[in-house]
Structures are given as C-alpha cells and as structure tokens.
Amino acid sequence: MPQAVIASRLRDGRAVFLDRNGRWVEFIQDSRIAQSEPEGEEIMESARRSEERQEIVDPYLIDVVVDGEAVRPVLNREIIRAAGPTIRTDLGRQAKR
C-alpha cells in the first residue's frame, strides 16, 4: 500500500507531511508517496534526519489511498490529523482548501 510520512512540526506542533523535495508541507496532497517498502524506508530515513535537526517530532509512515489528485489516509486517526477535527470543519486543513 502507498505510504506517506506524517510528523508534528516542532515550532507550532502542526501535523505536516514530507514532500518530494524533503520539505515539510501542510497538505497531504503535496506529500511524497512511497510506492514500495524500500521507498517508504527511504523517506522515513529522510524524516529521521529532519527529526535529528530538531525540525519535527515523531515522524512515522501512514498508509494512504491515492485517487487521482486526492490522497487519503486509511486510518481514522490520520484522516483527522490530515484534515482537522470532524466536528469543527471550519478549522484545520479542511478549512483552507
């Protein structure tokens, strides 16, 4: 299953995703999707280095479903992290796009 890396940004704690250029971005659609296990390990490695540079906290891989442009995490928890609270759709990423 395709995967992305999620983490919390150090300075503001916002949930962020690793993109193709090794930067941390706010929208999961912009994240780098690993299509294989070795590629997943590769992007995790890059995330860990970023953690050592004290840019982010607690990176981990999440399973995602890719549907054209849309990227959606599999687990409820990660769906909520990516979008925002389900009971306040005026807040979080969901409010911005």
């Binding site: 540079r53 607690d58 599999v74 909520i80």
Partner: protein
C-alpha cells in the same frame, strides 16, 4: 477568591522565565524531544494530533472575571478563538504553538494563572464542589483547604516524579458534587461528636483502565493534620507504588495489591513520625487562608422575591431554566446560576472567546466578578440575586449559554476524543452532539429527568464513562469506531462503577442504543424514580432485553 501575594507571584513569574529558557533551548536544538518532553509536561504543554495543547489550571474551579477575560484573549490571540473546559475544572487550548507558549504563560501569570502541574506524574489541580462558598448544605467552604493543598502540592520537591499522576478532590457537603470517591485521594469533611470538623480520608479511587471506588483509610482526620497526613500517604506511595508498568502505577493499584488495611497501617506509621512536625497547620494559618474566601458583601435581602416569582409565572421558558439551572443559595435572596456549556449539537465544554468575554461581564454585573467551573464541564455564577436571575437569563439566551439541561440527558460529560487527542481510539464529541440533537425536545428531556451520560474516547476514561449512569466508551475495532455501553455508574456519595451491558455498537447504532435504554427506563420506572434508582432496583436485565431483542 484567593489572591497571590508577592511570594506566590514570584514563584509563577520565575517559573515562566525558566520555561522561556527551556523553550528557547528546544527551538535552538539544544534539547531533544526526549529531554524537553518532561519539562513541557510539567508546564501543561502536550503535543496532540493537530498542534500543541496547553492545559491551564483553574484552581478548584474558581475563576475571576479578569481571568476569564484573559482566557478569552488568549483564545483569540494564540488559538482559534475558543477553549475547552475539562472534567478537572481546567481549561485547555487545542491549537497552541510552542514558540508562543512562553508569552502565553507570561500573560497568564499577569492574572495569577499558569499551567504548572496540569500534566506529568505529580499532583494535578485539586478539585472541589463548583458551588463552594455558596451551597446551603456545606459544613465549611472547601476552597480554603483546596488552597492549602494547592500551595503544599505546588513544586513539591519530594513528589515531582511520582509513579503516576495524582489527583485530590475535596467535598464539604453530604451530597458529593466533586466525585471524591473516584480520585487518588478523596477528602470528605464531616463533624465529629465533639462538634469539630475534620476529614474522612479515602484513597485509591480512580477511573482509567482499572476503575476503583476509593477506600476509607481514616474516619476522621483533624484539620490541623491535613498536610502531614497527605504527605504520609504520598511518601508511602512514592516509595512503594509500582514503577514497572505504567498501567499499574496509580495509587489505586498499590492500595488494591497491598490491601486497604495494610496500606492504612503503613500510612499511619509514617504519619506518626511526622504529624507533629513542620507541616502542622496552625489555626491562624487556616483562618488566614479562609479570610480570602470570606463571603462577598451580600445585600440583606428577603428570601421571597416577588418580581422573580412573577417572572416565573409569566414566562414558561424562564421557569424551565430556573427549574434545572438554578440551585439554592445559603444567603437569603440569592441563587446559584448554572451556565450550560452543552448546547444542542455543540461540543460539551467548549466556549468561544466571545462567550467568555460576555460571561466575564455578566459575572461582574451579577456575581461579584466570580465564576466557577464544574467537573461536569459547565460554568456557574455563584452569587446571583434572585431578583437578577431574569435579566441574567435574558442575556445568556442569545449567547447560547441558557440551555435548560443541567443534570439532564444532554448535559453530557465528554472528553475531546479522536477529534483532538493523540491517545484516543474513537471520536466522542460527535456522539455527544448526536445525543443532544436526538433529545433536543425540552418536554422529553424533562420527562426523562435526571440522568448522567458520560463519554470517553478511549480506555483512559477522561470522560468518566465508568461513573456515568449511562457510560459510553469509544474503541477501535479493525479500523472502525465502535462503542461500549455501560450502565449503573455514579460518581457521587453513592459512587458505583457501571457494568458493560453487552456487545458494543457501531457509531451509527450507539445513539439508538442510548435512546432504547432511556425509553426502557421511562416505561418501567416508578413514580418519581430517577434513572439510577430504577437501574439499581431492576438491574441490567430489562435494559438488555430492550437492547438485544431475541
């Protein structure tokens, strides 16, 4: 209310500067997350699903209008315009930035507030009756003792790394509104035969994955020994509490594994050694603290207030609100007004900055500038003239704070759940919202009467589901949210733990299940019988039959 003197203020100010340096070292990369985490936790800063979360202590639920305005400001300036009142009478902001936290804490310190020990394995906020100082049935104002405990338990050098967190609750009324039996230590004031007030001491209550009702280890503790006795309990716990397993580290497990009698004996032995030492509370010190909680300057009023009675007679909506949300006061002509933070379809305990500002103004107008937070996640104006109740109600209504549901089905205790919390296994707020929508008909709500629904989004039980008359626990089953239903819990003087009724329900089914339980109750109750009384009389069977028809 208690006011800081120069010593209290210095401590909090120094703490803010200390944390400012720590945050700088973290942002500069000098501290790793492993090193920083215990430091931020000791200041109430968590890292949650969407952002940092800052939990602010509201000592024993007492807030001034000035403090509430500051919270409104912080919500607006540093968060997303709202805050969440918790079951521990605290307030948390869910969208905090680490880099702004020192400034927030400095702003809080200006109004004598902080986040010290709202997390971490030490003493948490000591909680009490939200009607303290106003309730007609209290033996003494519990806030003096809470404040004495607050000072003793703040940055205690010996007990800052206990096996696990530690919560103390105090009640001084026969009817316990502070849930003292489900705290690590519960203190219940009573009067002995000589006419002196002292405390019955309970230990080892608590919720979480292994819930217990607290056990009495001392029937009567004279007041001057309050702190030495607490120190003795904590010293025993600090040395003997389990540290090998996070889930067995609370004092309740120690009490259970040691046996109540033996545990009591260990405490008494330790106490014998220290009871006459430096922790003894001189009467003058108790009186000095109590003077901060002297009654406000009440007017001499008649108990009968004709204009109030007239308004009740002419306005049925007001009458309904008075019936559920107004509580008798010790002072003639005054009342305690409850402000519901449980609007239909809303998040229990959430309050916008605009609402906070408005309530602060109303508190200044009608309640000597004081507000209380209840563990049931509502607010209280403790000193309202009965003659002012109508104007107060009129102003609360457009603010969405006059829902007449205190103690009723939609007055739900609810943790933030998976919408915010990193530990949660399922969402809890949407369930609370849906229940309140299902039961939005006031006649039906009042027909059902007093019932406590409590919802937790995981086994840690922040939503107190074990002690809900109806408890709901959200779990994860193969990636789907599902909900376990418990019945028969109570958190008051007759505390009991609810029992799981049967197989759990999906998110789509759980609200129907709650409705079935309430319909069953209504159909079998005796005249005037509350839900919990019916449950205790008939047991689980009729509810089971309703929920799982063969």
């Amino acid at each position: 209310m208690y006011r800081y003197d120069e010593f209290d203020r210095r401590l909090v100010d120094e703490r803010v500067e200390q944390f400012r340096r720590q945050v700088k070292r973290r942002l500069d990369g000098e501290l790793s997350e492993d090193q920083f985490k215990p430091l931020r936790l000791l200041n109430g800063l968590y890292l949650q699903l969407h952002a940092y979360m800052l939990r602010i202590a509201i000592p024993y639920g007492c807030l001034s209008a000035i403090q509430l305005r500051k919270l409104a400001h912080i919500g607006r300036r540093y968060d997303k315009g709202y805050g969440h009142f918790t079951t521990r009478q605290n307030l948390q902001f869910h969208w905090i930035k680490l880099e702004e936290t020192p400034d927030i804490l400095a702003e809080l310190a200006e109004v004598e507030m902080h986040g010290i020990q709202t997390s971490g394995n030490s003493f948490r906020n000591t909680t009490t009756d939200q009607y303290a100082g106003a309730a007609a049935d209290e033996l003494e104002d519990p806030r003096s003792y809470c404040e004495i405990i607050r000072q003793w338990s703040t940055l205690h050098p010996e007990f800052s790394f206990l096996p696990r967190k530690f919560k103390i609750a105090v009640t001084t009324t026969p009817h316990d509104r502070a849930a003292v039996k489900v705290h690590d230590i519960g203190l219940r004031m009573l009067r002995n035969e000589a006419g002196e007030n002292g405390f019955e001491v309970m230990v080892g209550g608590g919720l979480g994955r292994t819930p217990f009702v607290g056990k009495v280890i001392r029937d009567f503790l004279p007041k001057q020994h309050l702190l030495s006795y607490l120190e003795a309990i904590l010293r025993v716990y600090n040395q003997l509490g389990r540290r090998d397993n996070l889930f067995k580290a609370r004092i309740k497990i120690l009490v259970q594994q040691t046996g109540t009698e033996k545990f009591a004996k260990l405490v008494e032995e330790e106490w014998e050694q220290i009871k006459d030492g430096a922790l003894q509370l001189p009467r003058e010190e108790i009186e000095r603290i109590a003077s901060y909680f002297a009654p406000p300057s009440y007017e001499e009023l008649d108990a009968q207030v004709p204009e109030f009675e007239a308004k009740i007679a002419e306005n049925p909506d007001f009458q309904t609100w008075v019936k559920t949300n107004v509580f008798p006061h010790k002072q003639p002509g005054y009342a305690i007004a409850n402000l519901s933070l449980k609007p239909v379809g809303g998040t229990p305990g959430d309050m916008s900055s605009e609402q906070m500002d408005a309530v602060a103004d109303l508190a200044d107008l009608y309640s000597f500038g004081e507000i209380r937070v209840s563990h049931r996640q509502n607010l209280v104006l403790p000193y309202v003239k009965r003659a002012d109740l109508y104007s107060l109600w009129e102003q609360l209504s457009p603010l969405g704070l006059a829902t007449p549901n205190i103690g009723l089905t939609s007055d739900i205790i609810c943790c933030p759940g998976l919408d915010y919390c990193g530990l949660a296994t399922a969402r809890s707020i949407p369930i609370a919202e849906e229940i309140s929508e299902r039961f939005d008909d006031l006649d039906r709500l009042h027909e059902i009467g007093e019932v406590e629904i409590k919802i937790s989004g995981c086994i840690n039980a922040c939503g107190h589901h074990h002690v809900g008359h109806i408890g709901i626990l959200g779990l994860d089953k193969a990636g789907e949210e599902f909900y376990q239903l418990t019945l028969g819990g109570a958190a008051d003087e007759d505390a009991s733990l609810g029992k799981v009724v049967g197989p759990g329900f999906s998110g789509d089914e759980i609200v129907d299940a709650v409705e079935t339980v309430l319909d069953t109750y209504v159909s079998i109750r005796d005249e005037g019988e509350r839900f919990i009384e019916t449950f205790r009389r008939v047991g689980m069977a009729p509810f089971k039959e309703g929920l799982y028809p063969k």
